[in-house]
């Protein structure tokens, strides 16, 4: 691969083209600005695809998401769209989950199953979420064409609301058991550590459909807790596996910041359900590509890695 401006990444231990990395950051940033998602679920597979070791891709992406979440949360905070109490409870679960996730990551790496685990998790979660979003936005588009009234209220009481340790969340206008956000935070924390994502794509639907939070505070609150969960992942990966490449992270975030601003400006021109439909389509493409890699016969069934633990 001829490089125009080569730069040697000190942790990934490889040479990449500065323009390629800036371009990737810009493209994913544009999409995240357009759709209002973090973009980690697109960036991590893309980094692995250009040859960055999976472990470095996950560790570095966590570091970059810290930056994009900080810049995102400031805008929401100014508008008062962050429920700090809810974010705090989610965070407690998130800290526990991401710490276990980093530990599981190291264990899977020792047994040579980390690449498979990352790809399987991506296929399962992107496939499920993509399919749900796609069908939902298709229905919404059809409904708006037929001019039918919108769906009734989404928030319904289930056994989940009968759990003990009830807490009041004023900003979200909720009085629910703390175990619910704790559990969601914990689960998403594990995924964040293993998949190199912020987890917004799971957190946001979980907050809307499981907790019944008002849509206005969902994104800000999700971003708020993602900052701390990804910061925790960054720190633990730096200590345990030394897989956080700051040079790569800085290059990615320069591109992402610029791309996100352009994307945000474009997002006003598209309708909500069209945006969701497009995002769902993209999620499905990444999912199919990764799923295809898992089943297609590899070029060489043998692979080599430096021996760990001796």
């Amino acid at each position: 691969m001829p490089s125009l401006i080569p730069i040697y990444l000190p942790i990934a231990e490889m040479s990449v083209d500065v323009l390629l990395i800036l371009g990737m950051g810009g493209m994913i940033g544009f999409l995240s600005g357009l759709f209002g998602v973090g973009g980690g679920f697109l960036m991590t597979p893309l980094l692995i695809f250009i040859g960055v070791p999976a472990a470095v891709a996950v560790g570095t992406e966590a570091n970059q998401i810290v930056a994009s979440s900080v810049s995102g949360v400031i805008a929401h905070w100014r508008r008062g769209n962050v429920d700090f109490k809810m974010g705090g409870v989610l965070l407690v679960g998130g800290f526990l989950g991401s710490s276990i996730g980093v530990w599981a990551f190291a264990a899977l790496r020792t047994h040579g199953q980390i690449d498979l685990a990352i790809k399987l998790l991506y296929v399962v979660f992107l496939g499920t979420i993509g399919a749900l979003m796609l069908s939902e936005s298709l229905r919404a588009i059809l409904r708006s064409r037929r001019k039918l009234p919108p769906r009734g209220k989404l928030h319904q009481h289930t056994w989940l609301h009968g759990l003990p340790l009830k807490m009041r969340f004023r900003r979200s206008k909720l009085y629910i058991s703390a175990f619910l956000p704790l559990g969601i935070g914990f689960f998403v924390g594990i995924l964040a550590a293993l998949m190199g994502v912020g987890g917004g794509f799971i957190m946001v639907p979980a907050m809307i459909y499981l907790l019944g939070m008002p849509t206005s505070v969902v994104v800000g609150t999700s971003l708020f807790q993602i900052i701390f969960v990804t910061a925790n992942v960054t720190l633990l990966q730096a200590i345990n596996t030394q897989t956080v490449d700051v040079v790569l992270a800085i290059l990615l975030l320069i591109g992402a910041v610029i791309g996100a601003q352009i994307g945000t400006r474009f997002s006003g021109r598209l309708k909500g359900e069209q945006l969701r439909g497009l995002l769902a389509l993209m999620v499905m493409i990444v999912c199919i590509k990764l799923g295809f890699d898992l089943v297609v016969t590899p070029q060489d069934v043998f692979s080599i890695v430096p021996a760990i633990g001796h």
């Binding site: 080569p6 000190p10 900080v70 199953q113 898992l294």
Partner: protein, 253 residues
């Protein structure tokens, strides 16, 4: 840029060798490298190192370049419920991170099999040994894993699949070039030069070659490995500052 410097050095050496050839009559093999240090800088895109020297009398020259030795695990994938998963592995020790060989004639013609095996001449003769393999494992399986390791290293361009040529000028001066790709491992490399006459090595010379990271990249790597917690905290601080800065800048626009 390397090549120009090499040519100058090469010519200088040529002159010195010519002047002192009578004094060095005892020494039948003299060799050196154009560089004893390959620096991996921020703009590193691989490097070429020139090996040059002089011989006295009739014979063949073999140059073997080996990287630092470590353990490497080879994993084998197989279909498990439709998907390809790692199912089997074997770890080898004494595996050089890099291997290249250059000769004046095809390998089979310079030295008999036993000499090549002893001096690790040719990828198939690298003295890598399986670790923790019990006696029940058939040698054919070890061979399969061993050749898979060599195949993977060759694909990564860390092992030379083909024997590189050595140019000999007027039966006295020789030179050969070794290329190190960007994914080369840091450490002390060994460059061994064998002077082989009638199939047996009569002279050998070993020169070390250091490949190391220099500059900011080296500092970052060292810091990440020696002060991991501080490195992680700084990485987070940079990200927070960059995110805040971005929000501040674009608020005004």
């Amino acid at each position: 840029m390397f090549i120009r410097a090499f040519t100058l050095t090469f010519l200088a050496v040529l002159g010195i060798l010519g002047a002192t050839s009578s004094a060095r009559a005892q020494q039948e093999l003299v060799a050196d490298l154009s560089d004893h240090l390959v620096a991996i800088t921020t703009g590193f895109t691989g490097a070429d190192v020139l090996l040059f020297g002089a011989i006295e009398g009739e014979g063949e020259i073999v140059v073997v370049v080996t990287g630092p030795r470590d353990r490497v695990t080879v994993r084998r994938k197989d279909r498990v419920i439709g998907v390809w998963a790692n199912v089997d592995s074997m770890t080898f020790e004494n595996v050089p991170a890099f291997y290249a060989v250059a000769t004046t004639k095809p390998l089979g013609e310079v030295a008999p099999e036993d000499v090549r095996a002893r001096q690790e001449i040719g990828v198939e003769n690298i003295n890598m040994r399986p670790v923790g393999v019990d006696a029940a494992v058939p040698p054919s399986q070890i061979d399969t894993f061993r050749s898979a390791l060599i195949r993977n290293k060759t694909r990564q361009r860390l092992y030379g699949a083909e024997v590189q040529p050595i140019t000999v000028l007027s039966d006295r001066l020789f030179r050969s070039r070794v290329h190190f790709p960007t994914n080369v491992t840091t450490g002390i490399y060994t460059v061994s030069v064998y002077y082989i006459r009638d199939g047996s090595p009569v002279h050998a010379q070993t020169t070390p070659l250091q490949i190391s990271k220099v500059g900011i990249g080296a500092d970052v790597f060292l810091f990440a490995h020696t002060n991991s917690a501080a490195y992680g905290l700084i990485a987070i601080a940079i990200a927070v500052a960059a995110g805040w800065l971005a929000a501040a800048i674009f608020r005004k626009v």
